[in-house]
Every structure is written in structure tokens, then in C-alpha cells.
Symmetry: C2
Subunit: 184 residues, 2 copies
């Protein structure tokens, strides 16, 4: 996994954001498990917002890496790959960054708000393209603008993780299957 302290901090912060939310974890929640002092966390990330931004940026890079890996696959398969990633999250009981950070949006420091915005528009941009191309090749079927459909799909993926934690594991399966049925 992560070998440097900095990467370990990002790893832990990522997990805490996905389980407890940005406002419910503290520097102590990070320093204690890593057996370092809270000042060491501040050394790498002066403010909590800086840490949050790094978590988002890493997620964005990872996502970009996946997307590049899927480039040559047909669009319906690319979408299924994305659903697979969410299924893994569902098994771990962790939610996605969009689902965790957008509810807290008003409380986030301004630079982090900008990053959250960037994350949302970035994911939606990719998904819009994916849906558009998939429809052109008749591998995906839906009505309306591709961007509007992208909003609905991201909505369903995000909520499937929220709901499955509250209502139980089968909820993810129900929603992801319905989502696939509706589009393919």
C-alpha cells in the first residue's frame, strides 16, 4: 500500500472521510493509529482543508488511471467497471467522496469546496461522454440529454452506498442491477 508517512496519512484520511465524514474526524484520529504526533500531520498538511484536497486529488488521479485503462472497452462495459468499484466500496461499508463531501459542502474551507466542485464536474464530464458514445453505438439506451442521465447515474451510484449502509447489503445489488437494466 502506502510506504511513506504522507501516503499513510492520506490513506487514513480517505477512510475516515468515507466512514465518519470530513467534520467527524480529527487529527488525533490520524496521528494515533500511525503512532506519530499530531504536529507531524500538520507538517505534511498544514490545515485540514489541505488534507481534504489531497484526498480528493488522489481519488481523481486513481479514477483517471482506471478510465484510461478502460479506454478501449465498449461503453457499457466501462460503466459496469465503474459499478464494480462501487460494489467493492459497498462490501467495505464505505461511501464515495461525492456522497460524503457534498452534504458537508457549506462547512468546507473554500479551496476544498472548489476541489469538490472539480471532482463532481470531472466525473460527470466523463460519464456524459461515456453515455453519449455508448448510445451512438447502441450499446446503451436512454432518453434525454446525456448530461442529465449522467446526473441520474451518479446519483444512483452514490445513494446505493448510502442506502446499503442503512438498509443492508442487498440494497446495493437491487440498485445496481436496476441501474444496469435501465441503461443496457
Amino acid at each position: 500500500m502506502a510506504d511513506t508517512t504522507k501516503e499513510k496519512i492520506i490513506d487514513l484520511a480517505d477512510h475516515l472521510i468515507r466512514t465518519k465524514g470530513f467534520n467527524a474526524f480529527s487529527y488525533a484520529d490520524i496521528s494515533a493509529p500511525l503512532a506519530i504526533k499530531n504536529a507531524a500531520v500538520h507538517y505534511h498538511f498544514p490545515t485540514k482543508g489541505d488534507l481534504g484536497i489531497s484526498v480528493i486529488e488522489r481519488e481523481l488521479k486513481n479514477l483517471a488511471l482506471h478510465i484510461r485503462k478502460w479506454e478501449k472497452m465498449p461503453e457499457d462495459q466501462q460503466l459496469k467497471k465503474l459499478i464494480d468499484i462501487f460494489q467493492q466500496r459497498s462490501k467495505l461499508g464505505t461511501i464515495c467522496l461525492v456522497g460524503s463531501l457534498t452534504p458537508d459542502y457549506d462547512t468546507l474551507p473554500a479551496p476544498m469546496q472548489a476541489k469538490v466542485q472539480e471532482m463532481c464536474t470531472g466525473i460527470l464530464q466523463w460519464m456524459t461522454q461515456c453515455l453519449e458514445k455508448g448510445r451512438a453505438q447502441q450499446r446503451l439506451h436512454f432518453e434525454g440529454e446525456a448530461y442529465d442521465r449522467a446526473l441520474m447515474v451518479l446519483s444512483n451510484l452514490l445513494s446505493s452506498l448510502l442506502f446499503s449502509r442503512v438498509l443492508g447489503g442487498s440494497t446495493f445489488q437491487r440498485m445496481s442491477k436496476q441501474l444496469a437494466k435501465d441503461l443496457i
Copy 2:
């Protein structure tokens, strides 16, 4: 509005949960605007969890009141009424309790987790019935189990509020119109 202090506290807590989230507001955020001491808030609601539960219970009662009011309307109209409520929220820039509290689920005190669960299952139960009856009368059209569709609809309503705060006001219109188109 609210005339008793207790009702004013619930009102404010409701607003704070919808804007900042349950973990990002404090007793001071409630006592200061009401010009009372924080101990007065503890008098009415011994713990923060008690306050959270009261906020959910009031929402559940309000929702039940609305639903009873819509009883004689055709199901597609009932659904539109619900969308109207979300549109008002969107204008105010506030999110719904499901969208605010499910991301924080793991951090909530156990009795409040139970209430959040109750709220989710309650809303889904009503929506499942509404969709089922609407389909039987051919006023609503969709494939798959009504419960699965209810999950998707709640997902889209909840996310439309999250997204519209981050991406701008037109996002709600896009999503709610697409939602209506897909079902009617």
C-alpha cells in the same frame, strides 16, 4: 411558525442539519440565535441525539400530514407534489434529512441511527405503494419491482439537492424533469 422555545430549537436544529450537517453544528449555534443559554437547550433535549431524533420525528409527522392530504389524488400527482417539496428545498439551498443524515450514519448515537433507519424505510414504503398503485392505473410507467424503483427515485430526489448546491440551481430542474419524464 414556532412559538414555544422547544419548537424554535427544533426549527433551528432542522435548518442546521440541512445546511451544515449533524456533526458540524453545536449547542452554541442554537442557543446564541435564540438568546438563551446552552443549558436551556439541554433542558429540552438532554443529549444531541435526543434533539436529532425530535427533528426526524417532526419531519416524519409533517410528511405523514402531506401524504394524507394527497390521498385522493392520482399517484403521478402525488409524486409531483413530493417533487415540489424538494424544489422548495432546492431554492432555499437546504438538503433533505436523508441526504444529510445517512452519510453521517456511522457517527450517530444508536437511538438516532434507529430513527434514521425508520425514516428511510417509512419513506420508501410509501413511495413503493405510490409507484405500485400508479403503475396499476397506468399513470406511472416503469420496469422492475416497485421497491427497487422507489430506491432510485428517492436517490434522485436526495441527490438533486446535493448536486444543485454544488453545481448550481439548474441542476435541480434537470434532474426533476428527467425523473418525471422517466416515470410518466
